[in-house]
């Protein structure tokens, strides 16, 4: 039996399960907030074209609008200035094989409970590797914080001095890129960087280093608690937008049942 036939059998028997890591696109889902004089990320919006009525008697459909970076979304290297001159740096140019690959999940739930501004360090990653083995090259690395279980004002956690949410340190990201050769980095928060990352050096280090190295980002993920630390396969294929810097997408993971 071929691998794919085996996989199809496993999917139908349930021994391989598909986990949805995506938030519903909802007009009220938070987006990143920048100082108001900057351009802003558009919220998801949906307008009826017709609903089995005088505008179209037998069909219902909507026009939708949003940013490339609204909801659960994918960041391409061209999203950041550090990746702007790379080849194949936009969503339409990335080779499709990059959209499917192994995924490891770093559990930072406890650390985040203790510190909303928790910063994932190189040491944390090395500690994780002691338990789960070295992160395989070309893996997606997802930072699990259970942040996706927050809603409303708790999600952005915006205060007078800006948002407060966990993210990786510059050192941790560089380690993952330079020494582990990861494919990309994903979070449950609104960005791959922590809420206070504007004050880091460089600002927004995850964005800066990931995209500068031609790697990808995933944000606003959900259901990371349903994934094993290792062994799952992630499907994350953005829309094929010409010169697109990112895209909302459906992120799925295949997990073998215990």
């Amino acid at each position: 039996m071929s691998i794919l036939t085996q996989l199809a059998g496993a999917l139908s028997s349930g021994s391989v399960q598909v986990i949805d890591l995506t938030h519903t696109l909802d007009p009220d889902f938070p987006v990143i907030i920048l100082p108001p004089e900057f351009g802003q990320c558009a919220r998801f919006r949906m307008e009826e074209i017709s609903a089995y009525d005088h505008r179209g008697p037998a069909w219902k459909w909507h026009n939708i609008s949003m940013s490339e970076h609204t909801g659960t979304h994918f960041d391409a290297p061209s999203h950041w200035i550090s990746g702007r001159d790379l080849p194949s740096n936009s969503v339409d140019a990335i080779k499709p094989a990059d959209f499917i690959g192994p995924v490891v999940v770093l559990d930072c739930v406890e650390a985040t409970e203790n510190d909303e501004d928790f910063e994932l360090s190189r040491a944390d990653i090395e500690e994780w590797e002691k338990a789960h083995g070295k992160i395989p090259e070309h893996s997606w690395v997802l930072m699990r914080t259970d942040w996706s279980k927050r809603s409303g004002a708790e999600y952005l956690n915006m205060r007078e001095d800006g948002p407060h949410s966990p993210g990786p340190s510059a050192e941790a990201i560089r380690f993952l890129i330079d020494e582990r050769g990861i494919r990309g980095f994903g979070t449950e928060t609104v960005g791959t960087d922590g809420g206070q990352a504007a004050h880091a050096t460089p600002p927004y280090p995850a964005h800066y280093f990931l995209h500068g190295a031609g790697r990808y980002g995933l944000q606003c993920l959900a259901n990371l608690d349903k994934l094993p630390a290792t062994g799952a396969v992630l499907f994350a294929a953005p829309l094929k937008i010409k010169d697109g810097t990112g895209s909302p997408l459906r992120v799925l993971a295949m997990v073998e049942s215990a």
């Binding site: 009220d28 938070p30 802003q40 919220r43 919006r45 949906m46 409303g152 004002a153 708790e154």
Partner: protein, 417 residues
Amino acid sequence: MTEALFPPPKKNPQKRSIKPTRPPEVRSRASLGLTAAAAEGRFALQQCTHCSAWQYPPRDACVNCLSTDLEWNEIAAEGTLIAETTVQTSPRLYYRERMPWRMGTVQLDAGPVILAHLHEDVAEKSRVRMIARLDRAGQGVLVAMPVEDTPLMEDASLMRELTADPKHRRILITDARASNAPAIAKSLFDAGAATVFAGEAEAWRPYPARSELENLGVDIMPLDVTDTLSVQTLAGEIGGKTDILVNNAQFVRPGGAMSRNDTGFARDEIEVNYLGMMRLAQAFGPAMNSRTSDGINSAAAWVNILYVGALANTAGFGAFAASQAAAYSLSQCLRAEFRDSGLRVMNLFTGPTEDDWFQLLPPPKVLPQAIARELVKGLQAGLEDVWCGDIAKDVRERFRRDPKVLERELTFGSEGP
């Protein structure tokens, strides 16, 4: 003397809501000058530019010298009630439903004889003071009032027909986040509003005025005027008890067409300022339209807060002004669509407001308290156009004088070498 109006009892759910009817709307073109003055609460009559004779009813030629140059001027409002009647029967449904109706003949000290509505506190054959108001057909009418204000005169059923007084009404302010929201809510409560709702977009984003609104007793409800579903959802919830809608949602950024690199802010301006009004109208309009004869807390008015650049573009805020022109035009469309029910559309025009976006403009700037005060006064007088602050009044005067000259005044270039 007028008896106090009390909050209405809860509505009998078995009773059909009264369908709106209207007084006659048809008028001569000349007569619309009265409506134009009443829309701003001004009592004006035609005067001959040649012989200065006052005219009433409105004419196309001077009754004294046949000059056709007549202009609308404010005139001394005092007069004497020389005859009166209480109409007990009328073939017109609107009046039939509101019988008895008091009206009378007033001779103005300045000469003209006016048939007018009579306030109930006017004594027989007494001295009166005339005011102009818009009736439920949206046309200017003249009302004889007591010379001295009487207590509770605004509670008279006649005045409830001719105004959109917030007293005992339930009012939705569409943007709780706007810096003017607390001041508007406070003024409305001070004017006797029964309930003030405030629409809050993006509850996941904190803002300082929220606690202020809560302390005032405002009911904060989710509402994002850029999100159709959100607007529909709130309308489903409170559309049937929104008596006055104050649309204070406004997106403003500096810049014109070329001084911006993209259409991003322009889209936001159109989404909030123009399409937002349209979404609100589509969701709240039908219920408000059907409730304009619904007793003491009937639906009464729709208020837009507009930037005076709607009349002529102000280059520094050129793209924003364009969105305001669109909103202004849409407000006129709403007036037409609300005409049949008698729901009023009041536009409150301001100059630059005292906030972050107009920081670099010199004073005078309009404070939230001024907006709130003028808004309530406008509703109490049933106005259609309120000019709030010196700049708005100035632009209005220039616009009336010559719109082209105003355009040129507002679009000066730099002097160059």
